[in-house]
Amino acid sequence: MTKTPTNWTHRDDAMVEHMIRRGASRRDLLKMLMASGVGVAAGGSLLMRATTAVAATPVSGGSLRAAGWSSSTADTLDPAKASLSTDYVRCCSVYNRLTFLDEHGEVQMELADDIATDDAQTWQITLKSGVTFHDGKTLTADDVVYSLKRHLDPAVGSKVNSIAKQMTEISKVDDKTVKIVLAAANADLPTILALHHFMIVADGTTDFTKANGTGAFVMETFEPGVKSVGVKNTNYWKPEGPYLDSFEFFAISDNNARVNALMSGDIQLAASINPRSMRLLKGNSNVATSVTTSGNYTNLNMRLDLNPGDKAGFVEGMKYLINREAIQKSVFRGLAEIANDQPVSSANRYHNPNLKPREFDPEKAKALFDKAGLLGTEIPIVASDAATASVDMATIVQQSGDQIGMKFKVDRVPSDGYWSNYWLKAPVHFGNINPRPTPDILFSLLYASDAPWNESQYKSPKFDKMLVEARGALDDAKRKEIYWEMQEMVANEAGTAIPVYISNVDALSSKVGGLKPNPLGGMMGYAFAEYVWLNA
């Protein structure tokens, strides 16, 4: 950057303060300020005004209309096939899981009464009693066994087949208890069972054009690609039933249209809006925003086994060339946390805080590229709108490259079929990873030698060994120490550059109460329907 941008303008201060008023947790804020280099003294004054959060008492009744950002004919009521936010919202409202994660990432019990294990390999799950499905059938262990086993059947096409594979034995002990034996010890089973795909369906269900779950709402209408309407489940087993009478969920893919629909009052909740639209909302008093830093990120992957990734120094040079501050400020308008090139975000207990992100140093990058003999050669970077903001990020990398004589060519490809044709395949390309509750899932999915999504083909036997060791470790301190070291290894050796963790911004009418951030994603981990209410 010839001229380092100086004016972190007053507008952005106002925005940060605006974020506080809406109940962003204190810890998020601190991290945000630290990462963006704003002096603590200046930050102090901002905090004072945050404490006057409004006392919140739930009100029942009313019907809410919410809009996500994408839906298509591929929408489904089958939790195993759920792939988009619209599917997750629908499943959360109609089904329940054995466990769920609260706003602080702690595991809470839902359908399960208790989950016990002594060696983290064989687990005993006892179910709550008095829980009935919408069609009146009471919940039994058979339903749980059926729901978990179906993920192994390829005909179902389950998204979590690779995770479910570790459950070698799923058996019914009696009507109220289920036994699960894992291939190898894994202390995170309770957190895994909190994933949306492990919702519990009635035994033997195959037709998913209708939904028969135990959840807070009964699915009244479901038109794939159009809309779905849920009506309050009167005999809901939870003591505090859903506050809303009904809720309607559909998608408005155009960000501007979604924001305008909220501002004109047609909808009460607009999911994941573009950070640039924050400026529109601030001026409007009856609209608020809810920001969650849940660990979603768009990363630059450089295949270590293909040219130019295989050239020594290229990956490290790229990590120095990425201007994380520019990406945070101009692409995400400050609504992102600068990351240190590893997947475990600050929202996770095991985040390694003393692993400093690489500072932006074009000269060092130039030296590395020179050593790798790549100065001046044209290097294509594949980007697409399928990976959030990847095109803008690619442009920023291209600009930094121009300064030091590196020629990057940005190949913008259609989002249609991006995940099957370009992701994992192009030598240098962008990917996008949704938040996962545990480092174990992240590392086994992304960085293990046999990982299905090993974006940069990072192969390290030492890493694999540590992964298995950490998985079985029951002593939390030991586990944290291993995960911290693994994070350093990924940051320094893997071919994936992760510039920022993207904060998810949901905009909602000020009449909506009870929406809290959640590590599993925006809209309160997609389970907002059950917990929010409409003030008069």
Binding site: M1, P5, N7, R11, R279, S330, R333
Partner: protein, 284 residues
């Protein structure tokens, strides 16, 4: 030497033997302006088109950023100057390809007639039936994306329309006696088309070309959005409008000026074509 220069009269249309009203002249002036910008644009741009010059976005017009900054904080003026080359260049080449192809095929179909005309018309009607989105995606998938591919795709999308229009005109001219006389002389189809029919359908065909140019400028950004053609950091004007659409509610110059640029180009092209210079024949 100087007196020769003095006597050199300005080549106004009048003394070149053409009558050219002021509406047409304004249109021509604006077109020439944008053509010059398209050629020298990137060189005179104050900042490199892709560079982020300001943290703030959608800033108003200011001293160092004459037309403010766009959604990423890049200088709007430099991006418009860079965009001119793409919009003017690609749109002009595609519209000429589409109309040339359409007119030639239309004339041949009208003159040759019979089964050739029937089959060609049905094929191009069928081609119109395929949605341009599917066609764009297939092209990107099959051939990859580059400027030539973008130009050919645009030309292919608009060829059937200009074919239908040119064929209808040529069929009328084909029934005239001077074509029959030429046929009776033994002339072959190429001569009939180029010298007898084409001069008589040139006027309406140009008007159609003007309209098609407008559509192409707009569809151009749609296809780039699909990933076909102009790659970042460069962008045509349509893409500039599309990527800065959020600025609309803020009334940001980042969206107003590209739209003004598009409007000025398309309106002036049509104003010029509707008022072409006509040779003074001195007849009432």
């Amino acid at each position: 030497m100087t007196d020769k220069a003095l006597s050199f009269r300005l080549p106004t249309p009048r003394n070149l033997g053409y009558s050219f009203n002021w509406v047409g002249r304004i249109g021509l002036l604006v077109i020439l302006f944008w053509a010059v910008v398209a050629i020298i644009g990137p060189e005179i741009a104050p900042y490199p088109p892709g560079e982020i010059v300001n943290w703030d976005y959608f800033t108003p017009m200011s001293h160092d950023y004459l037309l403010g900054t766009d959604y990423l904080g890049r200088d709007v003026l430099s991006r418009i100057l860079m965009g001119a080359r793409y919009t003017v260049g690609i749109a002009l080449v595609s519209v000429f390809l589409a109309c040339a192809g359409g007119v030639i095929l239309g004339m041949v179909a009208a003159v040759v007639g019979g089964w050739f005309d029937m089959i060609l018309s049905r094929l191009l009607d069928a081609f119109n039936g395929i949605p341009s989105l599917l066609f764009g995606l297939v092209t990107v998938a099959a051939v990859g994306s580059s400027i030539p591919v973008l130009v050919l795709t645009l030309a292919a999308i608009y060829l059937p329309g200009s074919y239908r229009f040119a064929r209808a005109l040529s069929v009328n001219v084909n029934t005239m006696d001077f074509v029959t006389v030429a046929r009776a002389r033994g002339e072959r189809t190429p001569y009939l088309i180029l010298r007898e029919i084409f001069p008589n359908i040139l006027g309406p065909v140009l008007a159609d070309l003007g309209l098609r140019f407008v559509f192409i400028v707009l569809v151009l950004s749609g296809l780039s959005f699909l990933g076909l053609g102009v790659q970042p950091p460069n962008a045509d004007w349509g893409a500039l409008v599309r990527e800065n659409i959020e600025g609309l509610s803020l009334g940001a110059p980042a969206i107003l000026f590209p739209s003004v640029a598009i409007a000025s180009l398309t309106i002036s092209v049509n104003m010029f074509i509707d008022n072409l210079p006509t040779k003074i024949r001195d007849r009432s």
